[in-house]
Amino acid sequence: MRKTIAVSALALMTAGASQAQELRFMCYQDGNECDAWAAAFQTFEAENDGITVVVDVVPYQAIIESLPIQLEVGEGPDLARVTDYGGLARFMLDVRPHVSDPDMIEARYGPSLAWARVGDNAPDGIYNIVDQLTATGGFANATLFEQAGVDMPAPGSSWAEWADASRAVRDATGIDFAMAIDRTGHRFAAPAMSFGAALFNEDGEALVIDDGFRNFSEQFVAWHEDGTMARDVWAGAGGGTYQDAAGEFINANLAMYYSGSWQIGRFGRDIGDAFDWVATGSVCGPEACTGMPGGAGIVGLNHTEHPEAVGKLMEFVARDDVQAQVLAQTRNLPANAELQANGIDYQDVTPEVAAALTAFAASVPNFSETAYALQGYQFNRAVYTNIPARLTQAIVGELTLSEALDRLEQDVADAIAEAR
C-alpha cells in the first residue's frame, strides 16, 4: 500500500513537472518597460496555470551583442524584447499556429508585423508584437525661443525655416548650438526622404544615392560648416558609433533637437520645470514631411521548447487591454491600431509630456511608405551604421562629399553582399 502511494506521488510529481513550463524573457528597457511587463505577466500566469514567465532585465548592449551570438549557437531565452528585426529574423518563431485569433493581431499590428517578415520568414507569419512604437521628430526649447524673441516655426515648417529660427535663437541667447541630429543613419534617413531620397532601387535594395539624398547631404555638411549643426555630435565620433545630443538639449544649450519619441520620458523627468519644451513632430523638406518609424517589440524565438506557451504569451502581449495598461505605465506610443485610434490614458504625466506624446502619435500616420520600407528592410543596420561613418568624413574634410557618398554606396553594397 505504502509502495503504491509512493509510486502514485512520484507519477503525479513527474506529470506536474512535465506540464510546468518556464518561459525566459530577455528584456531591455529605456524606462520601465520590463517592470511593466513583469507586473502584467502576473495576470498571464494566473490565467495560464502551469506557465511561468521569468523576466531577465539586461542592458540594451546585451540585446545587440550577446543575444545574436546565443541564438546562433541554439541557446538563449524563449522570448526577447528587440529592435533589430531584420538581423534576428531567422531566429524568430512564427506564433500564428499557436494563437487563437491571428486575424485580430493582423488587424491591430499589420504594418509592424511586416518588419519581421523578411528573409526566409513566412509572408503571413506573426513574429513580433511591437510594444513601443517610436517616431523620429524634433524638439524645441520654447523658453529659449521666447527669450530670443524669435517666433517658433509652426508645425509643418521646413528644415530651412527651423535652421534660420534656431540660428537666430543661438545668436540672441548665446547658447552653443542651434540644431543637432542624433548621429545615426536612422535619424538622417527621415530628412533625406523629406528631401526626396528614394533610398531603394526598383529591386527593393538599398542604398541608392539619388538627388534627394545628395541634396540633404550637401545641406547637412553645409550646416556643419556654418555652425548651424552641433559639430560635437557627428564630428565628435568615428565609425558608425551612435551619439545623441539629449544632454545638450536638457542643459538648455540647444535650440532645436531632432531625435525621437523615446526621449519624451527622459525630458519629462530630467528637464522638469527648468524650461518649457515642445515636440515639433516631423520637419518638412521640399518633397515630404516624414519621420522614421521604429520601435521595440517582443519576439518568440524558434529554438524554444515551449512554442505553444510562447504563442499564448504573445497573444496576451498583443491584447488591447494589456497593451493599454503597459503603455499607460511606460508612456510609449502604441503600435496597436485600435489604441492609436482611441488614444492611451497616460498616467501622471506633465502637460509637456502629454502634448509631446500627442504630437508624435499624430505624426505617425503621415510617415512615407519608404520610411516603413526602410524600417522593415532586412539590412537596414548596414544603412544606419555606414551613413554616419562616411558623412562624418565629409564633415571633417577627409573626403569630398562626392567621394563620401560613393564610398557609402559601396560600403552598404559590400555589407549586404557579405550577409547574403
Binding site: 546562433e72 558608425g240 539590412f379 568624413q393 571633417v396 567621394e403
Partner: protein, 327 residues
Amino acid sequence: MAALVRALYEGAFNLFEKPMQMLQYSLGAHRMAWVFLLPNLLIFGLFTYLPIMLNVWYASTSGDRILLGDRDWVGTANFATLLDCGSYLDPNTCRRDLFWRAVHNTGWFVVLQVGFMILLSLIAALILNRNIPLKGFFRAVFFYPVLLSPVVVALIWKWILQRNGVLNAGMDWAGMDTVNWLLDPSWAFFWIVFVSIWANMGFYVLILLAGLQAIPGDVYEAAEMDGTPAWRQLFRITLPLLTPTLLVVMVLSLIRAVQAFDEIYVLTGGGPGSATTLLIQYIYDVGFATRPRQFGLAAAASLLMAGVLLVLTLLQLAATRKRAEEG
C-alpha cells in the same frame, strides 16, 4: 606547526610519487618530460593556438554567421580585398580605404608614440636616477598613471579636453581663444599620442631605472677621474650599457602601441572622421560594431597585423642577439 606542514608536504609528495614512478617506468625518462609539459601545452593549445587557427578559418570564409559550418569558403578573398589598392600610400585609392587609413594612422602613432615615449622615459629615468630631492615621490608620480585603467585615463583626459573642459576653461580664464581639441583631426591625433605616452611612460621609466642602476658605479668613477665630461659619459658609457634595456623597452612599447585601442576609443571614438582610428578599432568596427558583422574581413585584418608584429619582433630579437654576440 613546522612539523605539521612537513607532514602534509610529505603526505602529498608520497601520494604522487607512486603513480609518477609507474608512469616513468612505462614511458621512459625522455617521454616523461611530456607529462610535465602537457598541462601547459593544453592551456596554450586551448587559449592561444586554437583561437589562432579559428582566426585563420574565419579569415578564409565570408558571411555574418558565427558557426564555421554556416560560413562560405572564400580562400584568400578577404586578404585580396584588404590589399586591393592603387597606391598603399594613398588610402583613397584603396578598395577598403578605412583599413588603409587605420594602417597609416597606426604607423604614425607607433613612430611618434614609441619615439617620444622612449626619449621622455629615458630623460625621466636619468633625472630620477640622480640624487634629487623627493626622488621617491617623483618616481611614484611617474608610475601612478600606469595603475589607472585605460578607460579611467581616457575619461579624465576627455574631461580636460572637451569643449567645455578644464583646459578650455583655463584658456578662457586667461583670455585666450578656446580650441575644440577633440574635433580637429590634427589636434585629436596629437592628444591620443600625448595621453598614451602619459598613461604608459611610468612603466618604461621603471624598466630604464632598473637598467641604469645595473650599470656599475666604478665605470663612472673611472671616467670622472679621467675628467670625462657628463655628456660624454652619457653617450660613451650610459647609453651603450643601457642598449639591451632600451631594446626591451622598444619591443614592448612597439607591440603595445600597435595594440592601442581602449583609451583612444573612449577618448575620441576613432574620430573625428577616421583621424584617430587605429588598426584594432578598425578590426573591432568591422567585426563587431557595424551590421552586418564582417568577421572574415576583421579576422584577415588581424592576421595581417599579427604578421607585421611578428616581423617587427623578430627584427628586434635579431638585433638584440647580434648585440649580445658582439658584447
